[in-house]
Symmetry: C2
Subunit: 115 residues, 2 copies
């Protein structure tokens, strides 16, 4: 059902371990072994997560070296960011309303102070 790219990317991110792996890869490339250690996970479990991230376009794995280090692919993250930007006015609006309300409260307080 959810075969479109954005859905696959979002599904890949919908897991705290995969987001933690991504945060580690944001610092630099890492092999499966290097990723397994800090997460205290089996190589098999890490590989499964990497496959999901790869399918979501969030990482690529080098074919050259035998260790096949993983690299983060920021474009997939940017695509979600761009998609979210279409909703930005909604939360900007609600912040504006809150801001207006707070200013109104504050000016009310100042008025009281003047009395």
């Amino acid at each position: 059902m959810t075969t479109d790219r954005l859905s696959t990317t979002l599904a890949a991110l919908a897991d705290p371990t995969r987001r933690a792996i991504l945060a580690r890869l944001a610092i630099g490339e890492a092999t499966v072994n290097e990723l397994a250690k800090p997460f205290d996970m089996s190589l098999q479990a890490v590989s499964k997560h990497l496959k999901m991230l790869e399918r979501g376009g969030l990482i690529t794995r080098t074919r050259q070296a035998q260790s096949r280090p993983c690299r983060i692919e920021p474009k997939a993250l940017r695509d979600i960011h761009d998609w979210l930007n279409e909703y930005r006015r909604l939360w900007d609006d609600s912040l504006d309303r809150l801001d207006g309300y707070l200013k109104q409260l504050q000016s009310g307080e100042n008025d009281d102070g003047k009395k």
Copy 2:
């Protein structure tokens, strides 16, 4: 496993129909009936999707009216946006590198033109 809020929100968004429902709700509140029509879906199917969106904190449903209209909750979207911002330097960097490369190419072409 994926019980944290960000994961639940991302999972709710990992479906094109649910993102389409959200796009509709960005325009204004709508009842299940109003949502079912354009999507040509059963009320039951729409309700299932709405439950996922509700669980992800992306919508709320009014308890007052019997029609229980749905409203978009932009905060959940902003939370993902904020989380993605931590990765922003990664795609900014890659854009900078591409920009530098294109400028380099262009200056090379200009040099050729001068010959």
